[in-house]
Amino acid sequence: MTKFDAVVNVLLKPGISDPQGQTIERALPALGYEGVQGVRVGKHIELSVEASSEEEAYARIQEMCERLLANPVIESYEVTVS
């Protein structure tokens, strides 16, 4: 068993409005930041898992995402294992 570090980023699916991102985007010009667009806010999760291979680690985290870390109705996610 080896320990793998992983990162999971979860975002609202494209097409689902993201009020957090919109609020930030709207506030920026007044603070002197022009030209910022497409702000989207999601979750960044770091964790480490034990697995016998990188593939296995990836597969396990993928499954955790499906079941727990993201809600597939509204969210999409991205897993990186290192």
């Binding site: 506030a27 007044a30 603070l31």
Partner: protein, 726 residues
């Protein structure tokens, strides 16, 4: 000079050496530094606080314990207390405010009470600054996320905006609890009993919070102090509440105390000092969040969401099992000893600290700090109070109504669960909140009020006004005011003028509480509210609790019956514009003398309100903005206008003469109310009738629609602008 880095003076260090007859170890020194800090020892305030009245027939426990205990009905006791979290909230508003809620809730819990209501008293700088908006947003979010999650309703409070709080906001939170089954005490009795630490693990967060964060003023180096901020964990706090109440219900605890400022050092020394016992604590038994913590770090870490219990050996397993059921960590970290020493032992069995418990808990320094009435106070009192006639009376009214200090605060309180427990008979938006205690027919009214502006102009008068306003807010609901808790927010006590403000304010509170028969059951002192040498306005905040005969007898502030008669109770002095909302809002002036309260009049007014409550449709005191604003607020709340015949004189309309109330009642009741008032020597004026869709003041008229819009939107609009963290 390590003791200086820890905030101890050379004299204090010498006192420790003398007491121990040797040099303290580093861990011991750290323990003294937190326990002898201003925050834990009240070294600058104690000599003054001694003069506050603390006894009364309803007071079961006064100052000195986790919270005051008040008997509100035969066999029904409540715990009530207020705390500040000013500095942490400035540094990190969300978590600073959240952990402030957590701390006061554990104070209440430590008495064996279930926390059932919160009040938040907030003060910020001007709203046109992005950084202020960031603080408001964060603080409200912090209180909301924590209070809502632990399931304790936030039922009232105040929000004030004033330039002096820009760099030093005030976040005071009061909590009300009801004794669940048994009143607990914080005593480590019974040598041989186990000492159990329950709740979160202990980490490096909040190290030196007591000595560094809360007890020294901010300066440009405060960045370095920042890591002592903690993140609140309301989920663990909720489990802690339920688990601990279950432990108390099963009668498994001998002694019980929360961990707040001072970390573990605080309960181990205070519980033993109170019981006349000793205690040995094993460091390796403390559940740590981080490896390799130094002994001193473990002893003073202020990690949140922890409680300490003293348990008979035979009950230890049961206690651990119940904690486990709730998913909480709990472990035996020590035992109660004969003797009087607090001992800390490391994993190797080596003694790291061994000091008399009372030396930490009770023998801290007591200072009689020099104080002196400052020269500037005469100048400011003699200056123009801002009482000139405004160009347009109706416009002046709308300006005052739109002041963020006056306007509708629902932007804030709609973010708070204010209904859970099915007891909120009157929530935020009126005078005091009225709460029916769970499983009972007993209702209490609670409020928190301060008046920094008046206190700046005259701390003695201002403090008295705050007590009277709080009592009136309670009495307007028909409740009889019973007891007070107070949070004293001041600048640097080492400055004689700040110390003078403090002494004056405490005297004012004492005099008012004596006159009103509402003893002080506890509170909190927050000094060093200064940034770069500029102190805040002296700001005592008064938490007041009263009791009603029946929950359904509560009187609201909203006008409720067309055709009702409007009566103004109390005397109006047109000269009472010093420090008023009118002067500040219309003329930009904070000067002159604040209104002077006649305590006997205030007492008569309270007695009158309690007596005639059953005959009233509404009651609302005149505070910020005077009778004009009081009328408008009642009209907006009730969704109906009025027709009054008031003098077209700004000095009458906006005067903030204290101890005045606008009541409405059915015409048939007017005679009786007036007679009751006359009997008590309270001036009554019939000023108009309820009804219509306009606010007809006599000299001018504003539509209800417009007034409502102005009041409802000014705060929300001001807060809609962008926010910035730093």
């Amino acid at each position: 000079m390590i003791h200086r880095d820890l905030g101890l003076t050379d004299e204090e260090y010498k006192a420790i050496q003398d007491r121990l007859g040797r040099d303290p170890s580093y861990t011991e020194l750290a323990m003294y530094s937190v326990m002898w800090s201003e925050h834990c020892s009240y070294k600058s305030s104690r000599v003054h606080l001694r003069n506050l009245p603390t006894e009364g027939p309803h007071i079961l426990v006064g100052p000195g314990e986790g919270a005051g205990i008040i008997e509100v009905a035969p066999g029904k006791a409540v715990a009530f207390k207020i705390e500040s979290h000013n500095h942490p909230s400035f540094v990190e508003p969300v978590n600073g405010a959240a952990t402030g809620v957590g701390g006061i809730v554990r104070d209440i819990l430590s008495m064996g009470a279930r926390p059932i209501a919160l009040l938040d008293s907030l003060r910020f700088g001007p709203l046109d600054e992005a950084r202020t908006r960031y603080l408001v947003d964060g603080v409200v979010h912090g209180i909301s996320s924590y209070g809502n999650s632990i399931g304790v309703p936030t039922v009232g409070g105040e929000v004030v905006f004033e330039d002096c709080y820009a760099e030093n906001p005030l976040v005071n939170v009061a909590c009300l609890g009801v004794i669940d089954t048994k009143l607990m005490n914080g005593k480590a009795t019974g040598p041989g009993n186990a000492v159990i630490l329950i709740g979160s693990s202990t980490g490096r967060d909040g190290i030196g919070g007591a000595s560094v964060l809360a007890s020294a003023e901010f300066d440009d180096e405060s960045h370095e102090k920042r890591p002592s901020v903690q993140v609140g964990d309301p989920f663990t706090e909720k489990l802690l509440i339920e688990a601990c109440l279950e432990l108390i219900r099963e009668d498994l605890l001998v002694g019980f105390q929360d961990l707040g400022a001072g970390g573990i050092s605080c309960p181990i020394s205070e519980m033993t000092a109170k019981a006349g016992t000793g205690m040995t604590v094993r460091l390796d038994a403390v559940h740590l969040r981080e490896p390799q913590m130094e002994p001193f770090e473990i002893m003073i870490s202020e990690s949140q969401e922890r409680m300490m219990a003293v348990v008979e050996p035979g009950n230890v397993q049961r206690v651990l099992d119940i904690c486990k059921k709730w998913g909480l960590h709990a472990g035996v970290v020590g035992r109660v000893d004969d003797g009087d020493a607090v001992k800390v032992v490391d994993g190797a069995g080596e003694t790291i600290a061994d000091v008399p418990a009372v030396s930490l808990a009770d023998e801290g320094p007591v200072y009689e700090r020099p104080y002196e009435r400052p020269g500037w106070i005469d100048e400011i009192q003699a200056a123009d109070p801002g009482d000139k006639e405004p160009p347009d009376l109706a416009q002046a009214f709308l300006d005052v109504l739109a002041s963020p200090n006056v306007a509708d605060k629902s932007w804030v309180w709609e973010q708070y669960d204010h209904m859970i427990f099915l007891g909120t008979v009157q929530g935020p938006g009126g005078d005091a909140a009225v709460i029916r205690l769970p499983d009972s027919d007993v209702a209490v009214a609670i409020t928190a009020d301060g008046h920094g502006r008046y206190c700046y102009l005259d701390p003695y008068e201002g403090a008295r006004s705050a007590v009277v306003e709080a009592a009136l807010n309670v009495a307007c609901t028909g409740a009889r005011p019973l007891a007070v808790t107070n949070c004293l927010n001041f600048g640097n006590p080492e400055k004689p003028d700040v110390m003078w403000q403090f002494a004056q304010a405490v005297e004012g509170i004492g005099d008012a509480c004596k006159a009103l028969g509402t003893p002080v059951t506890g509170g909190n002192v927050s000094f060093y509210n200064e940034t770069s040498g500029r102190p805040i306005f002296p700001t005592p905040v008064i938490g007041m609790i009263g009791v009603l005969d029946r929950p359904d007898a509560a009187v609201g502030s909203a006008l409720s019956g067309d055709g009702d008669v409007l009566l103004l109770l109390g005397d109006t002095d047109p000269a009472d514009l010093g420090g008023s909302e009118f002067a500040s809002r219309v003329h930009g002036v904070i000067a002159g003398r604040p209104p002077k309260v006649d305590l006997a009049d205030a007492r008569d007014m309270i007695d009158l309100l309690v007596e005639v409550a059953g005959s009233l449709s509404s009651a609302h005191d005149c505070s910020h903005g005077g009778v004009a604003i009081s009328l408008a607020e009642s009209a907006i709340a009730g969704g109906r206008g009025f027709d009054c015949d008031l003098p077209a004189d700004h000095r009458f309309l906006f005067s903030e003469s204290p101890a005045r109330v606008v009541v409405s009642c059915a015409p048939d009741n007017a005679r009786q109310v007036a007679e009751a008032a006359e009997k008590r020597g309270v001036t009554v004026q019939q000023i108009g009738t309820v009804g219509g869709t306009e606010l007809r003041f006599g000299g001018f008229t504003v539509s209800l629609e417009n007034a409502k819009h102005v009041a409802a939107h000014s705060l929300a609009d001001a807060l809609a602008g962008p926010t910035i963290a730093s």
